[in-house]
Symmetry: C2
Subunit: 422 residues, 2 copies
Amino acid sequence: MQEAKGHIWLTREDARARVLEASRFSPRVERIAVAQSVGRVCAADVASRQSLPNAPSSRWDGVAVRYDDFAAGMPDTSGWREGREYAFSNTGIGIRGDYDTVVRIEEVSFDAEGRISFAAAPAQRGALVMPVGATLEEGEPLARTGQTITPELAALLAGGGWAEVDVYARPRVAFIPSGNELVDAGRELPLGKNVETNSLMAAAKLRAWGAEPLVRPIVADDVGLLVEALCEAVEDCDIVILNGGSSKGTDDCAVPAIERVARVLCHAVLMGPGAHTSLSVTSEGVPVIGLSGPSGGAECTIDWYVKPLVDRYFGLGFNEPPKVRARLLAALDLSQRSSGSKVKMAVRCLLARSSDGFVAAPMGVLPESLRLQYRGGNAFVFASGVGFALGEEAEAELRYPYAFPPRAEGLFDDLESHALVL
Amino acid sequence: MQEAKGHIWLTREDARARVLEASRFSPRVERIAVAQSVGRVCAADVASRQSLPNAPSSRWDGVAVRYDDFAAGMPDTSGWREGREYAFSNTGIGIRGDYDTVVRIEEVSFDAEGRISFAAAPAQRGALVMPVGATLEEGEPLARTGQTITPELAALLAGGGWAEVDVYARPRVAFIPSGNELVDAGRELPLGKNVETNSLMAAAKLRAWGAEPLVRPIVADDVGLLVEALCEAVEDCDIVILNGGSSKGTDDCAVPAIERVARVLCHAVLMGPGAHTSLSVTSEGVPVIGLSGPSGGAECTIDWYVKPLVDRYFGLGFNEPPKVRARLLAALDLSQRSSGSKVKMAVRCLLARSSDGFVAAPMGVLPESLRLQYRGGNAFVFASGVGFALGEEAEAELRYPYAFPPRAEGLFDDLESHALVL
């Protein structure tokens, strides 16, 4: 691992805090159809524009009556007529203003001449009538600024009388793949070249986070070309990702290019995979992330450093990923690593719930079926020093999107090893 | 609650099991671009078509050499020429077939005449060379049938040489809103009418589950019209949802209409909200769900009965939702409910992690800010009999999508009550 002179290394936590602090966003607001709003973030508090029901409504299929007609006991209904002393009322439908009480249809009968009679008088005024606003009251808060719109919330907004809603426009996130070795996915791969696949992963994640990915063409390892691509991106994007070019060796173009357009907060981070990630901010406050090239690093570092920036664009605070104590089902042996390295390793694990807490197994010791099913794992365990012994407790950090871990029972019956040498 | 004669009531679990067992799906397969495949479900096992790297590649920026030239110690390199005894090699790029070893550029220097010299000989043959397949081996399994494609997996498929992938076509799910009281969202709401919002909620959920929602026009409470809509839907859909028309009273049209096109497995379920949900299957095996009308019921019942059917279309087994024991932060008082009811209530709660396990508070006792933030809750507690006392332990079932619960510390400082009367 190259530790060039004058290069700033920060812990993952410090790096994240620094870039969040230094970035400045000007979120745009747009008005969109509520029906298209699921997954978007409210740009204003929303209150209901109407009450539901908007008129006293029947709670049951029956007939609507005036309670006063029953106040002195069961009245003589032989002369009653529909539309005068009573009216049919169906569940959920408003009753006419001059009625105030509903009798269930089951308690109503009609004789051969169509004359109504009641098995029982209504117990009280307003029986089986849903008052205005029983479901939703005009002015009732429905959503707050910064709230992500779920399917349920979208339906509620529509129920509150809103056809459109103000949301934050998707932040524009440039993704610039770089590297002489790269070829676009889907094209024939020449010998000695590699497929550019990170843009696919990044675009899908960014979309899921509510951002608009703008994937640029692959740029060769040339500082001039990179600076050109970066200058264009920082002009019209909220966040810029330069992927690759930050690997081992002296031909490293990413940081020299980024230095020409932004202030470097750190050249690398003390956490692998993806230690060769740089974080910078332009004078306008646009964050420029020099994302690690190898896909294993890119997958993790985009979650660690870019997701919090997207959230911040939406005005959301940073929440630490959930952490739990977990018993390790395999040793993590770091004795082979160079002892001088200060870089901690985030080891991907499958975290599961056991009867008395949590257990975690590094992905590398799992049988193929589990490695495929839980590819990349659902949590990290952080290894430094000599690592961990089998059965030792460690802190496990959930991987985004923070799903509830599966049950451990029976899951780990076929471990391939009880130690992982890193 | 209407318990009509001859009506079949099942527990939620039995109802779900019966409809899963009786439904028959013929999932279609389609080939789509890997770049568009995130969220879709693999219809075949996928193995890598290529090895990565596809040629021995440099692990570092440096020069590629032949190890044999160093076997007898440091050679005289004064006559060496680029492209003959050595060639520049960059990280991740294939080295020419006649070289086998890489020396870091940091250990190489050139004199004024451009003659190369090495600070140290390579330690072994193949040093700093990544062999073919070190990242990915041809034939290596990448995904299994039934696996949902994540951003990471899509990138991996592209890396494995796949531009397209076979996925299951989205199941077609008809959603038929019904009820005389309903008006399309976004239109002016006449007095005494209600907004149809469930289709919006259902369509968004179905899309998130990988299905294609087909929302039909609102149908009036008329058995003939409903039968017509159902006949059309069962013809060309994999799953049919009839929403509403299954509420209180005798004017209930949903079940009589469904009975004309499908065999009713149950007319209602012993679980609220949404007890008035019917489950049926046509002779062709198409499930027809008579989904509860009120939005609170519809939100829950679509998760309970429709989500497992969508999963089953994809060939996936049913997984019970995660359940944990949780200490209740408010009493659940059911003493006011009619004692004869066998219907259990699923009470929406905010479930959180405390230092020694889980705690849960019913949404109804939370302050407005939390009710808005966690609208609908993240878990259910099932109340029957007289309910639960404050501090009692209950089983909490996570609500889909089964997110890891937040930390309890400080979250529940402002409860509005310590009892919820149901």
